[in-house]
């Protein structure tokens, strides 16, 4: 499946900004089932410096600076991406018990495990309390295959939690999300990661896009899509296996990966600092269309 994705971020400031320095993670990754065919980042006012670097998680970061005095900054990322359905899971991997993965992560003997180890450590956005661990343990019963248990956990989150875009912000503590059983994709991803790390497993945060379809008989609205978040679980022999707790599916052809990290703070699509600016307003519009 091929997609054209346009992701526009607009900052409006009450006072002039003399300089901003930014890190944009808006370039889709090249992965085993995903190829970025074309990508372009358009910034107004025009930056006087822009370079692409790889971060610690192999994400593509565009470092750019805008030295022109401005009150509005627009960053538009336009990408064309081809995604193919992931192959069926390795049969061997399907039978690995989650406890054995936990043990091997505790004593990594090769680089795959060692590279996965940082994703076992909880972060400030993914710290599980005992209730969350107990919640996960109802799916991760003794000796259960890790993939099967994870699928069930995702299903539970999907069933038990309501999607409510008005409930949370980036600063809403995970315990509140867990208590009120509602949130957005970002919260569900953080919750799933916290549960998995609470068990000693390695899980990472994935940011990207999901193709949404309009209700039958209606046209798709421009800018109605949004960036999306899901999780990825480390499974020996396979590597990283994606799960989308918001939709209770394993991502196939409808998910496009932008960046991965320990939590949202590692994959922020656009972060930066500014000199001046006063109060500000941010708006984001995403369009994802098949081509």
């Amino acid at each position: 499946m091929k997609y054209r994705i346009e992701h526009k971020t607009t900052y409006k400031y009450s006072k002039d900004v003399s300089l901003t320095q930014n890190h944009a993670r808006l370039t889709p990754l090249n992965l085993h089932n995903q190829t970025c065919l074309h990508t372009q980042l358009i910034v107004t006012p025009t930056p006087d410096y822009a370079v692409k670097v790889r971060d610690r998680f192999a994400n593509i970061v565009t470092v750019f600076e805008v030295p022109t005095q401005h009150k509005v900054m627009e960053v538009t990322a336009i990408s064309e991406v081809e995604v193919i359905a992931a192959q069926a899971n390795d049969l061997f991997a399907k039978n690995i018990s989650w406890e054995s993965v936990r043990e091997e992560l505790a004593n990594p003997f090769d680089n795959d495990y060692l590279d996965a180890l940082p994703y076992v450590i909880s972060t400030s956005l993914t710290t599980a309390n005992q209730q969350m661990v107990d919640y996960a343990l109802t799916s991760f019963t003794p000796n259960r295959p890790i993939i099967e248990a994870c699928e069930e956990l995702m299903g539970k989150i999907y069933q038990d939690f309501a999607f409510d875009s008005q409930f949370s912000t980036i600063n809403t503590p995970l315990v509140d999300v867990f208590k009120h059983k509602k949130g957005v994709c970002q919260d569900f991803a953080h919750l799933a990661i916290a549960c998995l790390r609470g068990l000693g497993l390695a899980a990472r945060y994935v940011s990207g896009y999901i193709e949404t379809l309009p209700p039958p008989g209606q046209e798709k609205l421009v800018g109605a899509d949004a960036s999306h978040a899901w999780v990825s679980l480390f499974v020996p022999t396979i590597g990283w296996l994606d799960f989308d707790p918001t939709n209770n599916i394993q991502p196939q052809e409808q998910h496009v990966v932008l960046a991965v990290g320990r939590d949202f703070s590692d994959v922020t699509p656009l972060k930066g600092v500014m000199f001046g600016g006063g109060s500000q307003r941010l708006s984001v519009a995403v369009d994802m269309t098949r081509i």
């Binding site: 003399s18 370079v51 470092v63 875009s165 978040a229 320990r262 000199f275 941010l282």
Partner: protein, 853 residues
Amino acid sequence: MNQPDSNAAQSMTSDNWFTQFCELNKANMHDNNTMQEVLYRQLSQLSNDDLHARSSEIVRLMRSNGFIDGSYNGQWRLDPIPHLLDSETWQQIDFGLKQRAHLLNDILGDIVNDKNLLLNNGINGKQLFSHPQYQGESDYRQFPASLFFFAVDIGITEDNELFALQDHCQFPRGMGLLLENRIISRRVMSEEFRQCGVERVANFFQQVNNAISAQTQHAPDARVVILTKGPTDQYYSEQVYLATYLGHTLVKSTDLTVRKGSLWLKALNGLKKVDVVIRWIEDSALDSLEQTEYSIYGIPGLLHAIRSGNVALLNNYGCGLLQIPAIQNRLSVLSETLHGQQLTIKQPQAFAANEVNLSALESLELRSYSDPTLKLDGATNAAKISEIMSEQNTENLFFRQKVKLKQVPFWHQDKLVQMPVVFRCFALCHQGQTTVLPSALCITVGGKRRGSGIQIKDTWVQCFNPDNISEEKLRLPEITEKSGDMALMEGYIPSRTAENLYRLGASIERTENTCRLLRVFFDRYTEWTMYPNYRATNALEILARGIIDQRLIAPFNAEKKNTKPKEKPLSKQLGYETITNKALTGSLYNTLSSVCSMARDVRELLSYDSQRILEHLETEWRRLERMHTSASIHVMQSAIDRIISLVMAFRGSLADSLSNNTGDFMFDMGIRCERLKCLFGSMETMLGEELSREDQRYALDILLTSQVSSVTHRRRYRMHQSVSTGIELLVLAYEYPRSIAFQIDQLMALNNFLPDKPHLGSLASIDKLLLKFKADCHLSDATVLASAENGCRSNLLSLTALLRHDLKHFSDLLNTQFFTHTKVANKRPWAVMSESSDSESVESENKQAAEKE
């Protein structure tokens, strides 16, 4: 680490201090130690009074160098008796530090690149990654980290075993303090120092500078800066001292900016590329853009600039990893497996938490692999430890062996007191060689004793080859083909320094004005109380109301307050309040406080003599705080006299030591601007209202006296003295140093020292403004200004209002065009999944970060 036990600490009376010293120091005494014999022979000749005098002299010298100041009163206390390290112990330390540097660098290289130690259980990865000092978002491979200089806190036991209690791998905290101690102790104990053959430390610092130069061979005129958190850092004074000693520019993060992948210093005349940063900031707070945790000390984009190879950081990013317990606890084992050697400076033993018998914790302390704040002494916190062990995952916890430290005698409150100490030793790693600084910072441990600060001693190491002393004297700095003093050639001063000098000038002028005003007030008030029929009562009341309304003192309000005037504004209390009231912006206490604090901010530019005067000013400032409400007028007048003398001396001393290239003109600009504000306030208050002929004469006299212009006015205008002549002298006499016209002319002259201003075929905005300022003043006429209508000199008031406006505009232009460091990077809200967001949460985040740090 042992806690100092004040009950157990042995103390003795001051009689025969040397006998007691020998008794207490028995464990540290060695036979056949020439240095010790010489020192003890010298010390034995000192009386208690001698020691007391030396102690006081040390306090004075440390205060004058800023190591003891108003904010950290009594923070560091240098002992008048040095500590001797015998050659055998020193050889062990020297060897141990070199061994340790080699080991630490090998470990760092491995965990950043090959990771063999993490794969073969040499180091537990989970324990390493879960420590907050491990920056999970950073790819350490991109920063070729190796130690440049580092420090180790070494504990020595009664059995003379050496233990490494803490490594300082990010920056050598305390190195400047050691240098300062040495210079002071060499001065105070010059006789002993000369005869003992003590190893010099100067050569080490020269090697540090040479090693820094080697880092910048690609840049012939490399710019090196020392990055500090600023005066809030407990070690700020040593950073100032080191910057001065090594000859590098001291900067805060707001002085630097990253543009196009390079690091730049915000100088008064634009951006200047920085080649090397010697940082005194932790790994976790270096880059407020790239790093997850926002830090107000961070420089946005710094890590990108380092990664791009455009600036070198010393020590490089990543060295902080070596301080993480997951590595520290394995050093003994790793030394044996990697190098086949036992550590000469041992590591305290660490035990997994679940392997320890909780009923025998006296010799242990509980620590955590993920929480650096957790340190519980097993002897005093057994219950708390049991509680934690039952609640937390014990995998994250470990017990560390406590080290019973050797105690050494300190001279404290005129008696000898035994205290446990550690020795902080320093080393430089360069081109595969490790050089150890031949001294140590001997520090008491366990936090501050009440009222005693942290006690420190200079540590003397015997020179192994006394002949080297003369050789070292000859080892001068390496001369490279440089084109001269770059700072002087380019005329650059950091924008922050420029602003600090400007504000220092303003504060000094403000203090002087307040003093002069108070002098006049007390003088006239005393006269008034002596002669009840005193005819100048009305004029004196105008003066008093001017002070109460803060029109004659800062902030020099332009408008009269509409509040009901006091029945009797004239009182001694008014003078007392103007001197001591902390809530009054323009009180003498506050203005002097501002002088001291601004001077501390530019300490690196002050000469030794300026610092001594500053020290006296600080003493006067502290006296003001203690001044009692019942203080007599005479006492207050004496205080004012002393302060004004010191302020004048400080001002003269600064003018003598600063050059225009180091910002003298900014200092002078501050003075001129403040004097203008004072003149506006004085003219408006004392002459704005038309009074009876006699009252007017007294009001004019008060004005002229407070402006030190009374004699000049009398001599110049003799029989023709009037309001008009007063205005002519204080407003329009362009050749008279205390007139408004003169100040404006001076500002125009000083403006020429400001760097090139952007302009396109016409005058720059600041030049235009000064021209207008001058015209507004000079085109006025004294007679017109002195004329009154309906009891008011509206022409004069209109002129001062116009000039006030011009001055404010000038200050604003200076601020926006030249004080670029004041523009601080704010974190922008992150793009989130939902469609819109506003800044409120981010402003609160920024505030929280500032409060946290």
